[in-house]
Every structure is written in C-alpha cells, then in structure tokens.
C-alpha cells in the first residue's frame, strides 16, 4: 500500500507542476482556463501521448526507439493507401497495427539478435523507414481518406462539447498499456530486463523475447498514433512524424521514466505529455514570440527533469524517517 503511494509520488509531482503552470498562464490570459482550451490541450497531447506510451516501453526495457516517427509515417501512408483503395476501415486499422508491430519487432530483432545498441539500431531504421515511406508514395501525399475510416478514429462529438473521439482512444491506449505494464508477466519482464538484464536472464526470462515484444508495443503505439493523425487530417504524408521521437522521449522523461531503463510508469508518461501540451498551448495563447518559445520549452524540460531528482531525494528522506 505504501508502495502504491510511493510509486505515484512521481505523478503527483508532475500534476502539481501542470497546475502551477496552468495558474500562471491563466493569470496572464484567462482564456487559458476555458473548456475549449482544455480540449485543445488534450487533443494536442493525444498523438505525442500515445507515441510516448510506446516509447516508455522501449525505454523501460533498457533501450530507446528513435524510429517511431518514421514507423508513424509508414503506417500513415500504407493505411492511407489501403483505405483509399476501398479496404474495409476496420480491417485497415487492424493491418496498420500489425504493420506497426512488425516494424517495432524488426527494431527488437536488430537489438537482440544482431546485438546492436538500441540508439544506433533505431537511428538506422529511422532512416530506412523514412525512405520506405517516401518510396512507397513516391513522396506524394495520400489524399482523400474516406470518411468511413476518418470518423472511426477522429470525430468531434458535439453532444460532449466537441470532445474528439481520439481522446478516448488515447485514454484506452493508456489504460491498456498501463495495465499490461503493471499487471502482466510481460510487463514484469520488461522492468526486470531494463533493471538488470543479467539477473533477468539468469532467472530464465527470455530477455530477447521481452525486448522484441517491448519494441513491438512501441511500434503498435506509433501505428495507432499515426492512424489517428491520418484520420484527423484526412491526408497521409510520407513526411509525417519527423522529430516526434524527441517529444515522446521528453514526455516519458518528464513523467519519471529512467532513461537507463527499469523504471517508469504509463501514468507518468501520460502526464508528461499533458504537461508538454499544456505548455505549448500556453505559449501560443500568450502569443509568446516563437524564438522565446524554444527557450522557455527547453527550460521547462530541464526543470521538469530536475523534479525527478528532487523528488527522489525527498522520497529517500521520507523512507529513512519511516525506518526510525
């Protein structure tokens, strides 16, 4: 039980940070605290959030996946092409998820079977996947995605004040990913492999399989995020998603995921993504000069990461007190 509270401490810190930020923004411009704006924040957080959830799997397993933005792009254009050619939208979504899983698994295979360092392996596939997305489309966007597909994944629900359906998908992904990570054997193995690969191996955990699966999850999340973007934009571009990997990593890190692996939660990552979105929208609402936005964003990332350290210090003091 105390374990539970302790493990949620990190998320509480992020929530406090979000609240402080929101207050400052609201004081500076009251528009910030409106329902519509809140919706904007959540929408903005969706795609990065889902990508970051996947990234969290890769990072906890002791790796990283730089290729997610490109997996995202490949899924966008291939699913785009499938729906345009009249494939059943549900089937297309299914195939898209499969594709994402396959591309993630390729990363996993490179890392486990060829023993490549995750950073380099996915730096390589990042380039390969991007190239594939271009070659598949000849560089052209895939246009006129059918509404049947679009409304499945992206639809403003007016009866709920304009909430978009994909926000629910975001929550669903977060819940499923969170439960899998926290409650299943597979989740357990990922923590074990990231925390102490040698120990996991000696315990009979199939380390390779756990890693491959982790990257597959990363790929699946990228695929889901991609299809949401495809649905919401109605056009699939092979250039989509470039640079998204860094945002995803930032969200995971802010949410308390340890870059060396073995530690992190989906809840934390989700709040990390929300924090970044809230920050971005805040800067836009305040009409902060773009150039200054870079500076402020960077500083906030640093401060948020510093919280991790403060909070760990704090936790260790508390823990010591409990002992006495």
């Amino acid at each position: 039980m105390s374990n539970f509270v302790k493990s949620k401490k990190r998320e509480l810190v992020v929530i406090v940070a979000i609240c402080i930020m929101a207050c400052i923004f609201t004081i500076l411009n009251p528009i910030y605290m409106t329902g519509k704006n809140f919706l904007s924040i959540m929408q903005q957080a969706t795609i990065n959030g889902i990508l970051a959830i996947g990234m969290t799997y890769a990072i906890i397993s002791g790796g990283i996946d730089l290729s997610i933005g490109c997996t995202f792009a490949i899924v966008i254009v291939t699913v785009g092409k499938m729906t345009v050619s009249g494939l059943n939208p549900v089937l297309a979504i299914f195939l898209g998820i499969l594709l994402g899983a396959a591309m993630g698994a390729i990363n996993g295979l490179l890392i486990t079977k060829m023993k490549l360092q995750p950073f380099i392996a996915t730096l390589g596939t990042m380039s390969v996947y991007r190239g594939i997305a271009y070659v598949v489309t000849g560089g052209w966007p895939v246009l006129d995605i059918p509404d049947a597909f679009r409304t499945l994944l992206s639809k403003r629900i007016s009866s709920l004040g304009g909430v978009n359906i994909y926000m629910f998908i975001f929550f669903a992904v977060a819940i499923v990913a969170g439960i899998v990570l926290a409650k299943t054997k597979f989740g357990n193995y990922i923590y074990a492999v990231g925390g102490n690969e040698e120990a996991a191996k000696l315990s009979g955990v199939n380390v390779d399989r756990a890693k491959i699966k982790a990257y597959a999850v990363t790929g699946v999340c990228a695929a889901i995020a991609g299809m949401i973007q495809l649905a919401s934009l109605g056009t699939g571009e092979p250039t989509a998603g470039s640079g998204y990997e860094l945002d995803a990593i930032a969200a995971a890190a802010i949410g308390g995921t340890r870059m060396a692996g073995g530690k992190g939660t989906i809840l934390g990552t989700v709040f990390g993504a929300i924090l970044l979105a809230a920050l971005k929208i805040g800067l836009i609402v305040l009409n902060v000069d773009t150039f200054w936005q870079y500076i402020v964003t960077g500083i906030i990332i640093i401060i948020a990461a510093y919280f991790e350290f403060i909070q760990e210090k704090f936790a260790s003091i508390v823990a010591k007190k409990e002992v006495k």
């Binding site: 299943t184 925390g195 000696l202």
Partner: protein, 500 residues
C-alpha cells in the same frame, strides 16, 4: 546413498587461460559439500558449468547419474532442479522481493499476474526461512544478507534438490550467518544437497560433511571434514603450510604523531558525532553490525559523501574535503567494500586500474607514460602475487581475490597518509588474506595510518591496535588491545548505547 553430482574430466578454457583441467569428483546425495581453493582456483567456474552459465566446456556433468548439458541457468533450475546462489547477488532492485523470486514463473490469473497468490507463496517460503522482510518489499531496500536469503528463497521456490552457495557469507553479519547456517541444516534435513564455497574455513567445519579441493584448476582431493583439520585443508589448497590466522607480526610501529583526527563528524541520519584519532603506524579497527554506519563514516572521510557537521584534521591541519579527488590529494585513501561495483573499471586492464589514482606519478610532460605505468603495475603483480600475472589482463576477468589485490595495488601506488580498508578480505582466500594482513602491517610500518573496517571479529581483534565499535551510527565504544573480549565487543556492537 547415490551421487547427486558427478564431474568427469571437466576442462574449461577462456581466451588466454586454461581454467579447469580434467576435474573429476562427485558429490553425494544430501550432503553439504565444500568446494575449496585459492582465489582463481576455478571454483566459481566449476559451479557455473554445473548450473549452465557456461554451456561450452569439455567433459561430462552427471546429475543423479544422468548426463546433463544445460544450455542456460534457467534450464538448470527448471529441468535440473538445481539452483545457484550467486557470489555477487543478482537482484532487480526496482522489483519487489516476490517479483524477484518468481521472476519468469509468476502465478497467473487469466492474463494477469496473480499477485495475491504470488505474495502468499513467497511469504510462506520466507517464513520458513525466518526472514523478516515480506514478499511485497522492494528488493532494492534489502540488506546484503536479506538479498542472500531472497536468493535461497528463490531456490526453494523452484523446489531445487541441489543448491550451490558461492561465498554466501561475505556480506553477512554474524547473526545473519548463524541464521543462514540454521537454514542450511534445515535444508540438509529435507534431503537437499548443498555445494558450499567459502574462504572462511571455520564455516566449513561448522556445516560441511566433505570438502573437495581445487588448486590452479586441478582437482586435488576430497576430504571428510570429520577426519581432517584446518592445516590439512590449507596445505591442500595452497600446496604448502600457511599460518592462516589474523595476527600482528611486528610491534611498536605505532608512532607518536597523530595523522588523522576526527571531531564530532556527522552526516544527517546516517551517523552522528563520530570522533577518534589515528596515529601514524597504527591500525585502528572499526567493528559493528551491518548497517552500523561504518562504511558511511569512511566514505565521508574520503569525500565520497557529504558531512553535515564535524571537523577533520589531517597531519594537524583541518581539511575541508569536498570530493574524493581532494580526499586523495589531502592524503586519504579508501578501499571500498563492494569490489565489483566500486573497485575497478570493467572495461580496463590491470595497468589502467592500478594507475588510476596515481596518474601524476607516470607523467612525462603532460602525457601519461605507458611504460612507467606498466612497470609500476608489473612491480605490484610480482609483489602481491597477482594471478594471472598479466598487466594487460582485464581486471573484470580475474577472480575475486585477485581483483582485490589489484585494488590494493592501486592504493599502494599512491602516497596517502591514511588508508582505509573496508572489508578488505571479503572473498579472499586464506593465503591472500595473510598476504593482505602483511601488506596492511607494512603500510602502517611505513608511517601511514591504517583503518580496518571489518565484520570479522577475529580479523579485527588480530590486526587492530585499537577497536572502535559502532552501533546505529554512533561510536559505542573504544577498546585497547588488553580489553579485547569477544563478548564485550559484540555486546557493544549490538546495543552499545545502553551501556553508556
């Protein structure tokens, strides 16, 4: 009684080393069988072969008469019902005890891990072992002794029939050791065969039935413990007679000058108000139970941790040590207790590891002169009889005792005035132990102050001019040689505060 394990003509080669040579012997069902030998004799390697860590070797291993060849440790655990408690415990610190114990074999309910069932099962085993921690505790918060118990619990969880313990007591307190022996006797009663590796011979006489001895990768003999004695064991291990007791050979090397003076040193909750003096040529022992805070005091003195109060005087001058680099410059050195994680750089050779703390000694101009470094390293390899005697060898590939010697060489290469030994003989063989005692004495003789932190009472009593006893972060007592009584020391260590 049949044979639980049979080794037949086992050979093992590593790049650059032939480690096991035609090893042949057997272990009887239900006995506690000791595996003895000097550092680097090949004990761990043999166990690794038995448990499937090394799948590549020559020769045959038989379990209960059947030839086995495990591809990995897990197969050994599950198929062979044979578990190993590691020399360096393998723990996933961010998982709970229960998760660690059941890792790979968690009970499931549907697609989820059944944590209720898991914790129940594990707590049962833990109670059986009389452990104080629970299945739901975070493994990272356990002490070394508790981690060891966790590993044994894991073996029981897998219903192992054969359990190997590779130097299980190195990190344990006397109390924990006693508890462990109790458990081993219990396991033996339950018909479990135990392979036991230790450099502490008194333990062998306490719990083992027979002992097999390896020397330089070769099998020497198997002895009945009831029919042998300490000297015979040592002679077989070392190949000659060694007086393997901790004791001083020189007297009167303590000088007048106080080299280190500590006044009211505190560090938050870790320890408070530690004061003592250390003379040149003196060896001061620090005794206490695990968790007494000795290591923390030493780390703080060296600059690895921050102090919150108190003053430190070196050679009569107050110093404000902010980090280890300054500690080194001001003349304090520390040989850390966790050899593997704190002692040396994994990817580097002996040359680099020995030279790391004294690079300015090998400079020509602004560059580090490799020849000088090598010469220095080779000098210590000879002097300390480091094996293998190769300067280019990766320190991480050496046996535990030899790693310790490399770390010693590193500090002997510096010219610090105060050298702190934190559990210096942990996992070190009898011969090398004596060696280390001799070196320690020589260092003191050369006019340096030596602090010996140890949990082995005979060692502290034998080597120290004075003993400081710590308990719960405070100095519980200070005894001079003539006041050394085991009971008194232990009493202070357990509840020193009550006596004051």
């Amino acid at each position: 009684m049949g044979n639980a394990v049979e080794f037949k003509k086992i050979n093992k080669r590593f790049p650059g080393a032939h480690v096991l040579k035609d090893v042949t012997f057997s272990v009887k069902d239900g006995e506690v069988h000791a595996l003895l030998g000097e550092n680097g004799a090949g004990k761990s390697t043999l166990l690794n072969i038995l448990h499937g860590v090394y799948a590549e070797y020559e020769g045959e291993v038989l379990l209960h008469g059947n030839k086995v060849a495990f591809k990995n440790p897990n197969e050994a655990i599950v198929k062979g019902k044979i578990s190993k408690v590691h020399q360096e415990t393998n723990v996933v610190k961010d998982l709970t005890v229960g998760q660690n114990i059941t890792l790979g074999y968690e009970p499931k309910k549907g697609v989820f891990v059944d944590y209720k069932e898991l914790n129940n099962k594990v707590d049962n085993i833990l109670t059986q072992l009389r452990c104080k921690f629970k299945s739901s505790d975070l493994a990272g918060n356990l002490t070394a002794g508790e981690m060891q118990m966790m590993a044994i619990a894991k073996a029981l969880f897998h219903e192992s029939k054969i359990i190997s313990l590779d130097e299980p007591t190195t990190a344990l307190t006397l109390k924990e050791t006693d508890a462990l022996f109790e458990v081993i006797r219990q396991l033996k009663k339950d018909g479990i065969t135990i392979l036991y590796v230790s450099h502490r011979l008194e333990e062998i006489f306490q719990i083992c039935d027979r002992a097999s001895i390896l020397r330089d990768g070769q099998y020497i003999t198997t002895l009945n413990i009831a029919d042998t004695n300490r000297a015979e064991l040592i002679r077989n291990m070392v190949g000659r007679d060694v007086a393997a007791v901790a004791g001083r050979t020189k007297s009167g090397i303590k000088q007048k000058e106080i080299v280190l003076k500590v006044e009211g040193l505190s560090s938050g909750r870790k320890f408070q108000d530690v004061s003592f003096e250390l003379h040149r040529g003196e060896i001061v022992g620090f005794f206490g139970l695990v968790g007494a805070g000795r290591t923390e005091v030493m780390r703080t003195l060296f600059g690895a941790d921050k102090k919150t109060a108190g003053r430190v005087f070196l050679k009569g001058k107050e110093t404000h040590i902010k980090n280890t680099h300054q500690g080194l410059k001001d003349g304090i050195g520390l040989i850390p207790e966790e050899r593997k994680t704190q002692g040396f750089i994994n990817l580097q050779s002996n040359i680099n590891n020995v030279a790391l703390s004294s690079l300015e000694r090998y400079m020509s101009g602004i560059f580090v002169d490799d020849t000088k470094r090598r010469e220095n390293c080779e000098k210590y390899i000879q002097e300390l009889e480091i094996h293998p005697a190769k300067a280019d060898f990766l320190t991480s590939n050496m046996s535990g005792g030899n790693q310790q010697k490399v770390i010693l060489a590193k500090w002997m290469s510096t010219d610090v005035d105060v050298l702190i030994f934190d559990e210096p003989t942990k996992g070190v063989d009898v011969g090398a132990k004596v060696e280390i005692y001799r070196i320690m004495e020589e260092i003191a003789e050369s006019g340096k102050g030596v602090i010996l932190v140890s949990s082995e009472l005979p060692e502290v009593m034998g080597m120290s001019d004075r003993i400081m006893i710590m308990s719960e972060g405070r100095i519980a007592g200070e005894l001079n040689r003539e006041e050394y009584y085991e009971d008194h020391i232990l009493n202070l260590a357990i509840g020193g505060n009550d006596n004051e």
